[in-house]
């Protein structure tokens, strides 16, 4: 298919409004990744004060979510977009929700720091937390990749994120097995086990949001909805388009 991607509208204000929205979404992506990295950092450094900061910073993401929705509503009302413009606005509406929810998952990790280091119970040892660090690196990388695809719409990157999502499932199983060995080794770890599993679950959801964003980007570029499709079908559809 030949396209005129990148070509501006006759109404240049329309382009300005789309660029403004694009930049809001990119800003949300950057903030969501930073929130997760900061949250994990508070676990590493046992810094509960910073953990509270991460939690309060989540309101910035919430505000950007509202701002983006307002911009989308205004553009639809003023410009009556069609084709790729319409697909982009519909998908961006979903992407900002994914980013806002990814921010919620980061907040949960910061919550772990407060629970572990502000309370009186015995905090987990570094070894148990290592899986959280590894997984957080992995899923923040997924979101960074998704946001880079959002910028250039190179769908090879989107396929990469979707494949990372598949590996994430395997990683999760392996981490849960690994964690269970700590309980068997020392039953005093049971108290923290539930919190750690909830943290792992939050990270898995964070990666899930990154994966969903990759799916929305396929919709922007080609107009087919891959939310409920397997990776093989998605790759095949992209190749055939």
């Amino acid at each position: 298919m030949t396209t005129i991607q990148g070509e501006g509208h006759i109404f240049t204000r329309f382009d300005d409004e789309m660029k403004q929205l694009h930049s809001t979404v990119v800003g949300m992506g950057v903030l969501a990744v930073k929130q997760l990295r900061d949250a994990v950092d508070t676990l590493r450094t046992e810094d509960t004060e910073k953990a509270h900061d991460v939690i309060s910073n989540d309101t910035k993401l919430n505000q950007l979510d509202i701002d983006a929705d307002e911009q989308i509503t205004t553009i639809i009302a003023k410009r009556a977009p069609v084709a790729k413009d319409l697909r982009e606005l519909i998908a961006v509406g979903k992407i900002v929700s994914e980013l806002e929810r990814a921010g919620d998952e980061a907040r949960k990790i910061a919550g772990l720091t407060i629970r572990f280091y502000e309370g009186t119970s015995r905090p987990p040892n570094e070894e148990i937390l290592r899986d959280i660090y590894t997984l957080a690196d992995y899923v923040s990388g997924m979101l960074e990749k998704s946001m880079s695809v959002f910028d250039d719409l190179d769908l090879n990157g989107a396929v990469e994120v979707l494949n990372m999502g598949l590996k994430l499932d395997d990683q999760l199983q392996s981490i849960l097995r690994h964690l269970s060995t700590f309980i068997m080794e020392d039953s005093r770890n049971v108290g923290n086990f539930v919190d750690i599993v909830l943290g792992i679950r939050a990270l898995e959801r964070f990666g899930g949001h990154a994966k969903n964003i990759a799916g929305h980007l396929v919709f922007i570029k080609f107009g087919f909805d891959v939310r409920h499709e397997g990776i093989d079908v998605i790759v095949k559809s992209i190749r055939e388009s």
């Binding site: 030949t2 005129i4 070509e7 501006g8 109404f11 084709a83 319409l86 080609f222 107009g223």
Partner: protein, 283 residues
């Protein structure tokens, strides 16, 4: 077309279409059980070619919208469908256009009868300087479609009802049609067209001279008329094309670039020129 707002990429796409004599329309030009079929239609004004090898079907009980920048040939093509171009001396049409399988350019084709079978509604409402009643009854009388006055009354009433005008004019049928509002006049013209039971109705920008309320009434009417007639409409309003049609055809510099289901054209068009035009990247 406004050349100033076209960038290199759309110019390149345009050249790919215009300079390619073997260019094939993107999308399904054919439909099952069409009311009209057009194949390899070319139109020339003296030496200048205005339409290039256009092939497309008009489905039964469907509205097909023809869109494209000014000068793309959509109105010229529409006027071929009931031989309105015959009135232009320098105009020459080649190719095959068949209504219900019957070649409309055949020597045996009675053009007056053809225009009764393929009615037309124009951009500006053009009621005859006669009463509302006579405007609708005119074609019926001309073609001898009513056996007596009571049958004629019935046809006039039914046509005005189908055009959504009866309730507004039934107490002034003897008043001049030209005294109605613009929207009413256009609906009167539609009533005049449907009074002679056409198989296909051609509409050339029927709402461009109307206000939004009158436009909405005509659009509702088009949707109702679709139950009984096939309709081909030329419009500059892409929102109108999206609202009223089931299929959309995009014309560009005399070529039919893409045709397909309206939902697909306005959400995921295949050809870059279609996408560029409907998203407002050139016009």
């Amino acid at each position: 077309m406004n050349e100033q707002v076209k960038s290199d990429s759309s110019n390149l796409l345009e050249r790919e279409v215009v300079d390619n004599p073997d260019f094939v329309t993107v999308g399904d030009i054919a439909v099952e059980n069409p009311a009209m079929t057009c194949r390899d239609v070319n139109v020339y004004y003296a030496d200048k070619q205005a339409i290039f090898d256009v092939s497309v079907d008009i489905g039964r009980n469907e509205v097909i919208a023809m869109i494209g920048p000014s000068g793309c040939g959509k109105s010229t093509f529409l006027r071929c469908l009931n031989r309105m171009n015959d009135t232009i001396e320098i105009c020459r049409v080649t190719g095959d256009i068949a209504l219900e399988g019957e070649d409309i350019y055949a020597r045996s084709m009675d053009v007056v009868l053809l225009r009764a079978r393929v009615g037309m509604v124009f951009q500006k409402p053009n009621p005859f300087p006669k009463s509302v009643y006579d405007n609708v009854a005119y074609g019926v009388r001309l073609h001898g479609l009513a056996r007596n006055k009571s049958e004629l009354d019935d046809i006039v009433e039914q046509s005005l009802k189908k055009a959504g005008l009866w309730n507004e004019v039934n107490d002034r049928l003897d008043k001049p049609g030209t005294g109605l509002s613009g929207g009413q006049q256009q609906r009167l013209c539609i009533a005049r067209a449907i009074a002679i039971s056409p198989e296909l109705i051609l509409m050339d920008e029927p709402c461009s001279a109307l206000d939004p309320i009158a436009t909405a009434r005509i659009e509702d009417l088009i949707d109702e008329l679709r139950q009984q007639y096939s309709i081909a409409i030329v419009t500059h309003s892409m929102q109108q094309a999206a609202r009223v049609s089931q299929r959309t055809a995009y014309f560009h510099l005399g070529k039919l670039v893409e045709v397909g289901p309206t939902n697909d054209i306005f959400t995921k068009p295949i050809h870059g020129l279609t996408e560029g035009y409907i998203t407002g990247r050139f016009g």
